[in-house]
């Protein structure tokens, strides 16, 4: 017989009809036999004994009590107490007639507690997203390298005059030959010092003496709000990378300052002009700048280079241009680099003098050629070291000053009574931060959840198969 759907449905319907009516009366012989078989099977179904039925009914009526002396009984009693407590809690939590909250309490607790644990782990491991956002005031070493180096670069491109002075002195020493070597040295350190070195000495005194102290003091308030009042305690620049040389009097310090000024939008152009004017007045220059006076945005950024000896009055003047919202400073001690380069330069010069003497006394062309080659190498080394010294000097002679013009009322006030826009900005930031946390949590919880789900499903399948194996 082919088990097509129609036949199967007809036969099964006939079987159900026979079971319902208790009679096998189908016209088709085969189907009627199936009906009779079905009735036989049902009639042959085992029946429970009356004693067992009575006993089980009694247990049902009693709610299947367990022997309280048994371990399972004690466990059951404890579980029932726990269940009752949970249900009471759930009933309180569920504020609806359908008890939805009660049904959801356990799953929520089951999911929520592990999630809470993950959040705690995430925070403990990486902290909240978005960073602290704190001010980088004081002379922290972190991040000072980049600003100092960029400042140095700027100073190098604009102030090469000082270096060229020293270079000419050295050239004269070189051309003078061995006998003039001492003059060359003195020219480098003395005559050169009259021009380039003079600038260096000013820088040194500014760094270590009154200038440095005053400048540090002027920005000692760091992120404290105010108008840049220069009331002042001397700031001691922190060493960086072991650059501080104990006992060194004339320390070489790279300095960078940051100012944020509160400027009304319609006053932006005037303040920008004044920043440039103050910079020029104190012998500095504007490395780059951008000013936006548009209605939508507004603001400006200036990167200035100001001679260190003029830094204090320059900062004071800048603070008078507009109210200072925030200020910070960083310093980097490069004395060790300076001393090392200087010593190496002296050694190279001494070697060149020696080579020049040997060149004068050379007996053969071969010997003279070898000495010239060596002289070329030493000359290259001297040139590189001079450039390094020049770079260091310019970086310490000129401070990097970054001025940001922020539109009044639009910047982060950090105040208690901010405007509605501030509140909205804060709310947006909070949402973004929360989303970040959520994403991190999901990044952990999702794979873990999937693994747990896969394990649970696999366990179910295995259990089911084991059970079904009893029928195999």
């Amino acid at each position: 017989m082919t088990e097509d759907t129609a036949t199967i449905e007809r036969d099964l319907a006939a079987v159900d009809a026979a079971l319902a009516s208790g009679a096998a009366a189908h016209d088709d012989t085969f189907t009627r036999e199936l009906q009779e078989l079905a009735l036989e099977l049902r009639a042959d179904a085992p029946e429970p004994g009356p004693a067992f039925a009575e006993e089980l009914a009694a247990r049902v009526d009693d709610g299947f009590p367990r022997d309280p002396r048994s371990a399972r009984g004690r466990a059951q009693a404890a579980a029932e107490r726990q269940q009752a407590a949970l249900e009471r809690l759930a009933a309180r939590a569920a504020r609806g007639p359908d008890g939805l909250g009660r049904r959801l309490l356990k799953p929520i607790a089951g999911v929520g507690l592990p999630l809470l644990l993950i959040v705690v782990v995430v925070f403990a491991a990486g902290g909240p997203p978005g960073g602290s956002g704190g001010d980088s005031d004081s002379l922290s070493s972190a991040g000072s390298s980049s600003s100092a180096e960029s400042g140095g670069g700027g100073a190098e491109s604009s102030g090469s005059g000082a270096g060229s002075t020293e270079s000419s002195g050295e050239d004269s020493a070189a051309s003078a030959g061995g006998g003039a070597a001492s003059r060359g040295d003195s020219a480098a350190s003395g005559g050169g010092g009259a021009a380039g070195g003079g600038a260096a000495s000013r820088g040194d005194s500014a760094a270590s003496g009154g200038g440095g102290a005053a400048e540090g003091g002027a920005l000692q308030s760091g992120s404290a709000r105010g108008t840049g009042d220069t009331g002042v305690a001397p700031a001691q620049p922190l060493p960086r990378d072991g650059g501080f040389v104990p006992g060194q009097r004339d320390r070489k310090i790279e300095r960078s300052f940051s100012l944020e000024l509160d400027v009304p939008l319609d006053d932006m152009a005037r303040v920008a002009d004044q920043v440039t004017a103050v910079t020029n007045r104190h012998g500095g220059f504007v490395l780059d700048s951008s000013v936006d006076t548009g209605e939508d945005g507004g603001g400006g950024d200036f990167s200035l280079r100001i001679p260190t000896e003029r830094l204090r009055p320059a900062l004071r003047d800048l603070a008078e241009v507009a109210p200072v919202i925030r200020q910070s400073q960083e310093g980097r001690d490069v004395t060790r680099e300076h001393v090392t380069a200087k010593d190496r330069l002296q050694a190279a010069r001494a070697e060149r003098r020696s080579l020049l003497r040997r060149l004068e006394a050379a007996a053969t062309d071969t010997e003279a050629e070898a000495i010239r080659r060596r002289l070329d190498l030493v000359a290259g080394e001297i040139s590189g070291l001079r450039g390094q010294l020049r770079d260091l000097r310019l970086r310490t002679d000129y401070a990097v000053v970054t001025v940001s013009l922020l539109v009044a009322g639009k910047h982060d006030s950090n105040g208690v009574g901010g405007s509605f826009d501030d509140a909205m900005d804060d709310a947006g930031g909070l949402l973004v931060g929360s989303a970040g946390v959520l994403i991190r949590v999901l990044a952990l919880a999702l794979p873990l959840g999937l693994v747990a789900l896969a394990t649970w499903l696999a366990g179910r399948v295995v259990r089911r198969r084991r059970r079904e194996s009893a029928l195999a």
């Binding site: 036999e33 079905a38 099977l41 085992p46 009526d61 009693d62 089911r464 009893a470 029928l471």
Partner: protein
Amino acid sequence: VNEALAGRMPVATGTDTETFAALYERTFPRVYAYVASLLRDRSAAEDVTAQAFERAYRRRGSYRARRGSPEAWLFGIARNAALDELRRRKRRARLEGDPEDTGALGADDHAELALRREAVRAAMGALDGRERDLIALKFSAGLSNAEIATVLGLSETATGTRLHRTLTKLRKACND
């Protein structure tokens, strides 16, 4: 009905509810018949039946109407309990084994009926475990094809096809 049975179970159809005791009253003989058919051992069937009702009672909060009728839920529990029992004593009593005391004809039974019933029992013994499970769910438990499908985790169509095939096989074995 004892107050201990106050835990109410939603019934699949309608919004009425019934107590566990009512479900027990309605299904007890069929649960026993199903378990006994599967185990072929009256004593073990009593234990497993009691165990099944106890499990169902303790898990009555886990019943979800959308997953099927209370009968399907209850017989699922009973089936699991019976299969667990079968696994435990698989070496002692296999489904294919011959010890069987699920029923004995009374003295007043007709001889022809007795022969017929004996033939059916013999044919049942020739079925494999899954087929006997299916027959027991249908004729001892009295479940509808849809409820059987829920218990076995199959589609209703597949359940009907299997049932028809098994009945045909059983009929053939009875006639041979």
